[in-house]
Amino acid sequence: MNLENLPIASKQALLDALQWCSAKVGLTLPEWLLGLVSALVIIVTILATFLILFALMSVFERKLLARAQNRYGPNRVGPCGLFQPVADGIKMLTKEDLVPRSADKVVHYLAPIAMVAPALMLPVILPYGRDMVAVDLPVGILFFFALGAGSELAVFMAGWASNNKYSILGAMRAIAQMISYELPLVTSAVVVALVAGTLSPAVIVEAQRGYSYGFVPHWFVCTPWGFAACLLFYLGALAESNRCPFDLPEGESEIIAGHLTEYSGFKYAIFFMAEYVGMFAINGLLVTLFLGGYQAPFPFLEWIPSWCWFFAKLWAVALSMVWVRTTLPRFRIDQMMQFAWKFMLPMSFVALLAAAAWHYAGRGPAAWGISALVILIPYLLLGHFCFTRQHSATNRRYYYSE
Amino acid sequence: MMLQILLALSAALFALGLLAALTRRNAIMILIGIELMLGAGNLNFISFWKFSAHPENLTGIMFAIFSIAIAAAEAAVGLAIIIQVHRRLHSVDVDQANQLKG
């Protein structure tokens, strides 16, 4: 039995068992029904995987945060606290669902649904292994960002329907942040689409196949423009998922819970789940675009199945996001906006230029030097002229919120 | 018959947009009507592309893509104007914006 084909083989075994059972009963299943059952099996597997990842992440994040702060995390429920998500789920399900009297009932009810439906549709285009894409869309990347727009709408609905000053304020800040960071995010993805020549994630992963000098993988993150685009995509992913240091919309010490203030119980759990599933989906896209998807990093490690590599890389990127959360403080809203529009957007265009320069200079050694220079020079200039301040006591510049 | 049904859908959407643009007094509702009319036009382009003799020309698709981009630009400018008008008149009622004096 080949470990690589384990998921596909098990799905086929399930379908064969179904056909055997129906043959025993005496009726033949039509072709379309088998296709439907196959699609349902794939959907249920993907959903179950991401929900298990969400549950594991919620407990690992709290334990990692705790360890970084020199305390234990949740360690009472189950071995080392691993059953904490079950306890959290029971708590969320049994809490009273409070809706404010002056809230807009219909929109308040629909907001979590509008948040979680696009988030659960996001993981469907990611290639989990060799020939293991649920839906091989030729416009996969566009699909991903189109669904991301749906979650912004849900944030607005949540904030407005709660009829609460803090909710509206939080919702407007959240949408401003998400729209501002969507531009560098999409431009970094366009950089990869430019070089690979396609918008389909499966083809992009295949374009990163191969090794140079026997051990250096052809992942896009190993190129200068790919490294810049990967960093920008990573920061954009942090902002889109409202994670620290970009979690002002949910800043507990400042605006209570922002757009989530008036949500309790299961609706809050749905928002929480949508945020984490969205985070995993965008991390999956980062792995697909820049980290080689399901390819192994070194040729002597290729015996590990491709789907194991995908989930290992996904888990590594997710844990790095938790690491960033333990380390960095929160941005202020004007710092966040300046960072997006004055630094990340120009740098994403610079990465686009660098990728084009790399391609047209022949993709050889000279091309690497040229594209590295194209990235470094604007980065240093931008950093020197725009973001360094004269730290003297007399001509300090203070920023106040208007 | 399928083309006729698609064109009828597009005509109905256009009529709804026209109704919003002509009947409502709120400037933002008028803009919503304009966006509906532009959407109806896009539907017409795509329907005719699907039933054309040479769909590999992609003319309808090109038209639709550019129309979507122009609609976005026009919505941005229109809403900026509405916000500025609101600052002056403290209302977005187009019946109250009836004087040339700013």
């Binding site: 030729p138 416009v139 607005f156 | 026209l18 007094r25 539907l43 698709i61």
Partner: protein, 190 residues
């Protein structure tokens, strides 16, 4: 009973997939009608969003997937957001209307609304008549090869056949960006 089942089974079920576009089409009309008729602006804008989503799905059902996703990305993600922000930033001042609809009745605005509705109805009737009596629309058949729009072909068209409109729209979008920011800017003196 058995005859009913036979009748249902003998319907042309293989042709169903091509008529499935009617579902998003009717949803789109319903949502647009709600958007036009609702009094609450935010509800109306959210129904508009539903209408845009249904229109995007309709584009995908007609074989133009790229346009469908661009519609979702641009209209739902950008235009609808702009409209919602504008609604938030332009709240109605003192509410002059009372709850009794008869008290707000002004003959001039009622006449204007009726005239507008009449014009829209006439336009609808005219368009439907044109569609019904047009020989080209009645005799349209699907081309032999299913209309396909691969993304690579769209990109190639954009950069070769429609290069000039592409550059023009780049200038237009830049002008719209700068213009909108300038128009909506607050006067620093006041």
């Amino acid at each position: 009973m058995h005859a009913l089942f036979q009748k249902i089974a003998s319907l042309p079920w293989e042709q169903l997939p091509q008529w499935l576009f009617l579902i998003p089409g009717l949803l789109m009309l319903l949502a647009a009608a709600a958007a036009v008729c609702l009094r609450n602006l935010v509800h109306s804008a959210l129904c508009l969003v539903a209408s845009f989503i249904a229109l995007g799905v309709l584009f995908m059902a007609l074989g133009a997937e790229f346009v469908g996703f661009v519609q979702l990305l641009v209209y739902v993600g950008a235009v609808a957001m702009l409209i919602l922000f504008a609604i938030l930033l332009t709240p109605a001042g003192e509410v002059l209307a009372s709850n009794n609809p008869l008290r707000n009745f002004r003959l001039s605005s009622a006449l204007h609304a009726a005239a507008g509705a009449a014009v829209a109805f006439l336009v609808l009737v005219g368009l439907l008549a044109a569609i019904a009596f047009s020989p080209r629309a009645a005799s349209a058949v699907l081309p032999a090869q299913a209309a396909a729009a691969p993304v690579a072909l769209i990109g190639e068209n954009l950069l070769t056949h429609t290069l000039l409109p592409l550059l023009g729209i780049a200038v237009l979008l830049t002008a719209a960006l700068v213009g909108a920011a300038l128009i909506a800017k607050e006067d620093s003196q006041s």
